[in-house]
Structure formats: structure tokens, C-alpha cells
């Protein structure tokens, strides 16, 4: 019983917060500001708590298992959620349904936690849905905005469709192996064509959530449509969680098929990097731009995953950690600007440096980190992904990836150029950034610079498994 509490600690904490919010809601309620700060504190505590009592073990007859690495992954996610709650506080204060928003977000987080540590297709499916459906609801949170509801509609329909495909795959897998628990399935795999079909169906579900080409098309629309908080949540938290479970599924469950999924990953990775970059080239809306850039980033994550060893896992986790900081910094700045001026176009950023040097530097840092330019952490993250991917000595694969970095640099520099170089007759007026947001941005900036140079972080990740 005691074990139950330690192993499921993080899930339980999140659930507790959710219920607390629920009670506050049905109780007499609170003022937004105080509630927000309360939640922020709680999330911070949740994040800190994530560092303690991390054990290896499983529950419910192998349906749920956790390791220090998984705990760390969960912690990355809760950190991301905490940062989001800080970064978007301006917007959150204004929204009418703060408790609901957090309830949805946290239950999605809960779903992701369960998903990461699920070791059984049933749990996996349930948690996946739990991680998806609330987000769809969140996507619609700007109730009066047309685009918001359109995005939400697209999201819910496509995700339902993809889960339909996923389920069909699961059913086939069940049919051929007669079990739904990962280890037993691994034992039963014989590479029959039905299983391959099932595998493809399964992978598409991950591909959908990770927005891998050609299953990515919903991403940009949903990102653009939904509020900034949701967009950043989608782009960082849900992507990260799915990446983690994807690794587990491939490395554990489908280990026997590794040759096959290596090829699959190579194809998907190249397609994703290329298409993502090519679309990002001509985006005007900053959210859409970041959406496609994050698609391209996923391509790099796939390169790392393809290595099929601990290096791969470590590299991906490390990269996601860096990605959290970089992407959230970018979204955070975009959110601040959108919140104060309602401007979301890159052209509006022209001459930003003149009026808002702080925001410009943070955004520039974030973009450089995303582009993988030293001394930012992104450089190390990307390089380690490629190092992991290079283990199979497929130089041309690495080369394609490396060349994609050029395209990505091009469009990241577009924004930098807009902020620092382009003339603008009426640039944005100086924005008064609230201290909380400033704090969050500084944290992100520090993270972007520090994580790479403090090598022990990577060493620590490498040591967990």
C-alpha cells in the first residue's frame, strides 16, 4: 500500500490539485489573481516534490510501472506546466473560467503521466484519451473567437479519427498475440503482416500526437486557433510526453521489429524535417511559425530515437528538457506581445529591439537555441541527437538532418532580423512586463544558456535508466 503512494506520487499529487480546484470551484470560489498564485505555488511544489522518493516498481499487475528516468520525464512535464502557468498569467487572469482551465490542463497532465508509465495497451489508450480530450476542450477556451472553436473542432475530430485507427491497430495486435500488456506482446511478436499492419496503425497514433509528417496537418491550425497557453502546452508538454512513451513502446514492446522501425523512423524523420522547415519558411503568424518549427524539431527527435540505445533515450530526454525552455521562452514572449498589443505577425516584430530589448533578447536566445547555435543549450541538444542517430553510421542521414539545420536557421534568423535589423516607423510601444512573467522569462533564458554548459545535467540524465 505504501508502495502505491510512492510510485504513483506524482499522479496522486496532480489529482489532489485537481480536486482542490474542483472544491474551490463548487465552493464559493476565489478571485482569479489569488487563485492563480495559489495554483502556481502548488505546481511549483509539485515540481519540487518530483525530485524525491523516485523508485523503480510496478503496480496493478504490471499495468503501471515507473523508474527514476520516468519520474524525471514526468518532472520535466510538470516543470513545463509550471512555467506555462507563469508565462501566461496575464491571459489567465483575464479568462473567466480559471479553475476549469487548470482542471483540464492538469487532467491532461495526469493523462500524460499515466501514459508515460503505462505498460499495458488499455492503460495506454485510456491515458492517451485523457491526455487528448481535455486539450481539445482547452483549445476552444477563447469561446467567442471563431478560430478558436474551429481549431478545437479540427483537433477533436482528427484525434478521434486517429484514435479510431489506433484502436483498430490495437485490436489486430490483440487478435494476433492475445494479450494487451507490453512485455507479453513483445514475447508474442512474430513479424506477420497483420502485426506489421497493426504496428503501422499504432505508430500513426504517436505520429499524430507528435505531429509527424504526414500526420501533422492539424497542428498548425490548432496552434494558431487556440489561446497561447494551450498552444505552448500542446507544443511542449504533450509532444514531450508522447515522445517519451514512443521511445518506450519502440524500444521495449517492438524491440523485435527494430530493423523495420529504424527504416520507418528514417523516412518519417526526413519527411518531417523537410516539410516542417519548408512550411515554416513562409509563415507570417508567429504561432503558426512556431508550430511548424516544432514539427521540424520533432524530426530531429526522431533522428535521436532511431539510435535504439540508452544514448538515444538520454539525448531525447535532454533535448526535450532544453526544448521546454527554448520553446516556452519563444511562446512566452509571443504571448506577452499578443496579450498587450494583440499582434501575432512577424512583421509586427520589426524594430522590436528599439522598444523592448529584454523581450527581443529572450526571443532571440530562444530562437538561437531552437536553431541549435552555440552557446545556447539547443546546440548541445541537437548535436547529441545527431550523435545518437549517427551511431548506426548512416552519414547521409545525419547529413540530411544537418542540412535541414540550415533551412531552419534561415527562418529563425528571419524573426531575429525583423526584431534587430528591419526599420519600422511605428514599432510597438514599450511593453510593461509583469514581474511574474519576467521571472519566468528569465528562468527560461537562464535555462537556455546554462543547461548546455552545465554538463552534469546531461550526465545525470545519462545515469538514470
Amino acid at each position: 500500500m505504501n508502495e502505491f503512494f510512492t510510485l504513483m506520487k506524482s499522479e496522486l499529487l496532480v489529482t489532489a490539485i485537481i480536486f482542490l480546484l474542483l472544491f474551490i470551484k463548487i465552493g464559493k470560489g476565489m478571485k482569479n489573481e489569488s487563485l492563480l498564485s495559489l495554483v502556481q505555488v502548488l505546481l511549483l511544489l509539485n515540481f519540487i516534490a518530483g525530485f524525491f522518493f523516485n523508485k523503480t516498481g510496478n503496480l496493478f499487475g504490471d499495468m503501471f510501472y515507473t523508474t527514476p528516468l520516468i519520474a524525471f520525464q514526468k518532472n520535466i512535464l510538470s516543470l513545463a506546466v509550471y512555467l506555462i502557468s507563469l508565462l501566461c498569467s496575464d491571459w489567465l487572469k483575464k479568462t473567466g473560467h480559471l479553475p476549469e482551465f487548470f482542471m483540464l490542463m492538469l487532467s491532461a497532465l495526469l493523462g500524460m503521466f499515466l501514459m508515460i508509465s503505462s505498460s499495458n495497451l488499455l492503460i495506454f489508450y485510456l491515458s492517451l484519451e485523457l491526455a487528448t480530450i481535455p486539450v481539445a476542450a482547452m483549445a476552444n477556451f477563447d469561446l467567442e473567437k471563431k478560430r478558436s472553436s474551429e481549431g478545437a473542432m479540427k483537433m477533436i475530430l482528427s484525434s478521434a479519427f486517429s484514435s479510431g485507427i489506433l484502436l483498430f491497430g490495437i485490436s489486430l495486435l490483440y487478435g494476433t498475440t492475445g494479450t494487451i500488456s507490453f512485455p507479453e506482446i513483445t514475447a508474442q511478436l512474430d513479424g506477420s503482416s497483420v502485426q506489421i499492419l497493426a504496428f503501422i496503425f499504432l505508430v500513426t497514433a504517436f505520429a499524430f500526437k507528435l505531429s509527424i509528417v504526414p500526420f501533422h496537418l492539424w497542428t498548425a491550425d490548432v496552434y494558431e486557433g487556440s489561446p497561447m497557453a494551450v498552444t505552448s502546452f500542446l507544443s511542449v508538454v504533450s509532444k514531450g510526453s508522447v515522445a517519451f512513451i514512443f521511445i518506450t513502446v519502440l524500444y521495449k514492446m517492438f524491440q523485435p521489429m527494430q530493423d523495420m522501425w529504424y527504416t520507418l523512423l528514417v523516412i518519417l524523420a526526413i519527411a518531417t524535417m523537410l516539410i516542417g522547415n519548408l512550411f515554416a519558411l513562409r509563415q507570417q503568424n508567429i504561432k503558426r511559425f512556431l508550430a511548424f518549427s516544432s514539427i521540424a524539431q520533432v524530426g530531429f527527435i526522431l533522428v535521436g530515437i532511431s539510435s535504439n540505445d540508452y544514448m538515444g533515450i538520454a539525448a531525447v530526454v535532454y533535448f526535450v528538457l532544453i526544448y521546454v525552455f527554448s520553446n516556452l521562452a519563444a511562446f512566452g514572449v509571443a504571448a506577452v506581445i499578443a496579450e498587450h498589443t494583440g499582434k501575432e505577425n512577424i512583421d509586427d516584430y520589426k524594430g522590436l529591439y528599439k522598444t523592448n530589448p529584454f523581450l527581443s533578447w529572450i526571443l532571440a536566445l530562444a530562437l538561437f537555441s531552437l536553431a541549435g547555435v552555440p552557446p545556447t543549450a539547443g546546440f548541445f541538444g541537437k548535436l547529441f541527437l545527431l550523435t545518437a542517430g549517427g551511431a548506426k553510421a548512416a552519414y547521409w542521414f545525419i547529413l540530411v538532418a544537418a542540412l535541414n539545420m540550415i533551412i531552419s536557421l534561415y527562418y529563425y534568423l528571419r524573426v531575429v532580423r525583423a526584431m534587430f535589423m528591419d526599420k519600422n516607423d511605428n514599432p510597438m510601444e514599450p511593453i510593461k512586463v509583469s514581474p511574474v512573467v519576467k521571472l519566468a522569462l528569465v528562468i527560461c533564458g537562464a535555462g537556455i544558456i546554462m543547461i548546455g554548459l552545465l554538463s552534469w545535467i546531461f550526465e545525470y540524465i545519462k545515469s538514470l535508466h
Partner: protein
Amino acid sequence: MPNATIIALIPLLPLAGFLLLGLFGRKIFKNSSGLIGTALLLTSTVLALYTAYEYFFVYGKVDGVYQQFIPMKLTWLEFSPGVSIDMGMAVDSISVMMLVVVTFVSLMVHIYSLGYMKGEERFSTYYAFLGLFTFSMLGLVLSSNIFQIYIFWELVGVSSFLLIGFYYDKPSAVAASKKAFIVTRFADLGFLVGILILSNSSGTLDFNTMIATLTSPDSDAVKTAATSSFLGASALTWGAALVFIGGAGKSAMFPLHIWLPDAMEGPTPISALIHAATMVVAGVYLVARLFPIYAITVPAVLEIIGWVGAISAIIAAIIACTQTDIKRVLAYSTMSQIGYMMFALGVSKYGGESGLGYTASMFHLFTHAMFKALLFLGAGAVIHYVHSNEMKDMGGLRKYMPITHLTFLIACLAIAGIPPFAGFFSKEEILLAAYQNNTAIYWVALITSGLTAFYMFRLYFSIFWNKSHHTHGESHGEGSFVMMLPLVLLGIGAAAAGFIPFGEFVSSDGNPLESHFHLQFSIAPVALGLAGILAALWLYAKQNDKPAKLAASLGSLYKAAYHKFYIDDIYLFITKRILFNLVGRPAAWFDRNVVDGLINLTGNTTQAVSEGIKKMQSGKVQQYAIYFLSGVIILAALFIYIWR
């Protein structure tokens, strides 16, 4: 062994002058700069004379042969063990002789310029450049290492560039200086490659070692080099020939002579120093330095040298007859005289009596330095007086400038080879050498000597006689003392230098070579010289239209000669039309449009593609589903049917 420091001081003092005046001349030594430069040079002249005395009369001869001393040698840059650029000082008969010539003429010019350049805005700069030039020339003379000589060679080139372009705000001067530098530079390219070949086949850059290896026919270096041939000629032949091209460039040999006439844009004393007495003979000096190699290893190249010299001599003489700018006339005569020296080397052999040409060439170099410098300085005085270079603005000046007139006359007689003036003796020996070894060249030389006499006296008469001088500028006399002094000194030199028993001191292999005269032999040239003088007298002594008639009767030949046989135009065509329009412009265009275009193309195609595929993101959720489904199907098909 001569004292190293003394010899080192000879070039270093002018360098000191250059640094001093170059750095502080504009401010501190505004007025004293001329004197400083002159004083420094005076010292090094004295030192040079002292060295010469020591060398020739104290410890020059070891058992009857003039030795070469290397009192100092520092490794400057080592390429690989054995192959290194050394900064050394080779003291032997020719280098000592050159030391004397260079310092003496340079001193004369320094003194002369005190008057001539008076009141120049950049007076101190002028003296600084003079110092630089003198330094580099002396360094060149003393070089003991072929790369060292190349280094000073280049320095000489640049200082000549600076001095020609001294009036930098005069476009013609700028153009002339550029032309001089680039043409010589082009020749130096040959020199450089030649050095590479010679050094590579001899395994050293040091003159003595190189000569030693390359002249001993059984040394394997020579064997391999002789066998490794390129376009039918052996490596050594190429090397020697290319080195000679370098020399030809500096010495304004045909067809690399085009820069010399234009170089007269510089101040006249400069022309006297650089383009008459010293720099232009560097080529001759270079060939003399490497003479054993030419004479023993690659006589074929020596043959070429001889012919190049002869052709230059006669062509220049012909052109000189038609020019009207007095400095240009002198320039062409310089070219012609250097042609003499060249072919004298060309017809010479190594060692003993047959080495007469070598001695003669050096001798002529010596005497020519005297009278040609004199001629230029005299011309300078004239120009200074009438403020023009054109003959038509002159005439009847003998009354107004007696000293100039006298000295000029001496110089003319000397160059025309009339006894007992200096030119006579040296030219005599040259002709003799040619007669002994190569009759064809001898005839060319003979005709040339006639022409020489003619054009020189054409010059002389049309300056000092001809039409009576329409009066202008009586106000100032023919020039200050400082300007006259060098004329007189050089005049003495031009008159007397011939009596030096030159062969005693300078010969191809160091053994003294007593020079003897065959009177019956010297009749022909002298007669021709007198004939030339008489022709000039008949044509130019009085103002008349005979010259015009003559020119008309000669017709196209005269025209061609007047236009310098259109050589300049050919060069112009090659550079402007071909190099600029057919190479440079296309290269620039290619770079901007093709190479850069390709780079930009990649970028643009990426843009275009991203524009092209945007339809994929149609915004229709059902199409998304179709993509989704097709993705599934394609992957499934791939993995089930192809990679199974």
C-alpha cells in the same frame, strides 16, 4: 678580408636617410633634408671608394686572381636545410665597381637635386625616396644570394615607381609609374620562376654554390636538370632564360622596353640616376653575376641574350632618331647602349681572352654611367632653363649656358665613340668582342654606332645651335653652383674614364686581361661616328627644312619609327582588349551571375518549393484525414510488400 661593417654601412646609410626623412622629414627636417641626404650619401660614397681601393690594391688579388669575399652572411629565411634566403654581401670586382658607380652617380644626383628640386613641396620626401632607391640598388649589387637579389630587385622597382610617380597629381606621371612597375613586374614573374627552377635543380639559392653545381658538367644536378626537359628545352635552359627575362625587363630590352621612355615623366635627376646609370643596368649586372652558368652550361641562352641586345640596340637607335622630346631621345639612347652591354655579354665566352666581351660590357656599363648621367643632368639643366622638353622650343642655347653646353658636348662625343673620350674605349672593346665571336652582331653594332652618333648630335645641334634662341628666361642663368658641379665632375669622368685599364680589374674569371688597341680595327666605327656627326651637322646645325624633306622621303619607315614601331599600341591592345575585356570582365560577371547565382538559386528554389506545397495545408479537416489515411496505407504497403 674587407671590413664587413664598412661595407654594410654603404647601403645602410642611405636607408637611414630614407627612414629619417621619411618619418620626420615633413615636420622636423623640412629644409635640412636635402643636406642630410647628401651628407649621408657622401659618406657612403667615400666608403665605397675606400672599399674599392682596399679591394683592388690591398687584398684583392690572391695569386693573380681577384677573389670573391663574403664578409658577412645572415640566414634570413630558411626553406629547408641548405635552401635558404641569406642576407649576405658578396665583394668581388663587379660588385665593387658597381658600388662605386652607384654611389658616385647617386651622389651627383643628390647634389644636383639640391638646386633642381629647390622649393619642391615634397622636397624631403624626394630625398627619402632617393635614399630608399640608393639603398636597394646597393643591396642588389652586393647580393650573394639569388633570392636576395630578387628582393632588392623588387625594392628597386618600387622605389623607381615612387620616383617616377613623384608628381603624383600629374595623371601622365601616375600612368607612367604604373606602366613601369607592371611591365617590370611581368618580367620579374619570369625571374621568379627562373629562380625556382635554378634553385630546385641546384638545391641552393646561394650564388657561388649554385654556380659551382651548375657549371660542373658532371654534377648529377646538371644531369637530371638537363634530362628533365619541357617543350623541348632542358630545365636549366628554361631557368636561365626566364632569369634573363627578368633582367631584360629591368634593362628595358626589346620587347619589354616600353616603360622606359614613359618613365621620363619623373623628375629629370631621377631619370639620370635610375633610368640611365644604375637601375636599368641591373639586368646586365644580373647576367654578369650568373655569367658562368650562361657561358658554360647554357650557351644557347647566351646566344639569345646576344641577339636580344643587338636588336634592342638598333631599334632603339632608329627610334631615337625620330623623337622630338629630348628626354625620350636620351631614354632610347640608353636602351640602345644597354643593348650594347647585353650583346657584349652575349658574344662573350667564359675565361681568358675570349672573355673580352664580359670585360667590355662591364667597362661600357661604367663609362656609360658617366656620360649618360651627364647627358640627363645637362638635359635637366636645359629643361630647367626653357621649361620644356620639346626640341622645337630650344636652340642656340650655347651662349646662355656655356658650361652645360661644353659638358653636353663632351658627353655626346663620348657616347658617339669619338676618341679619346670614355665611350670610345669601351665601345671599341665591345665591337672587337663581337667581331671575334659573332660577325652578324658586329655589323648590327657598327650601324648602330653610326646611328648613335647621328641622333646624339641631332640632339646636340638642335638644342645648342639651330635657330637662334628667341629670348625668354634670361632672368635666371643656367643654374646654381650645385647644379653645375655634378656636370663638371661627370664631364671629367666622361672624358677620362676611358683610360682606366679596366681589364686589369674586371674579367669573367678574375684573371686580369690587358686591353690592347688595334688601330686599324677602330677606323671603321670612328669613321661611321664622324659620318653620323656630319649628317647631323648638315641637317640640324641651321634651321632648315631638310629634316622634314628627309622624313617625308623616308615615309612609312619614318612614321613607324616615330610611332616607336607601334609596340606600345600592341601592348595596349593586349592589356585593354584581351586581359580586361576578355578575361577580367567575364570573370567578374561569371562570379556575380553564375557562381553566386547558383548559390542564390538553391535559396530561391527552396522558397519556391515551400510556396508550391502550401496547398497541402488546405484547412479542410477531411483532407487532413485523407493525407493521414494515405500515409498509413503507403507505409503499410511499403513495409508489408517491399521491406518484408
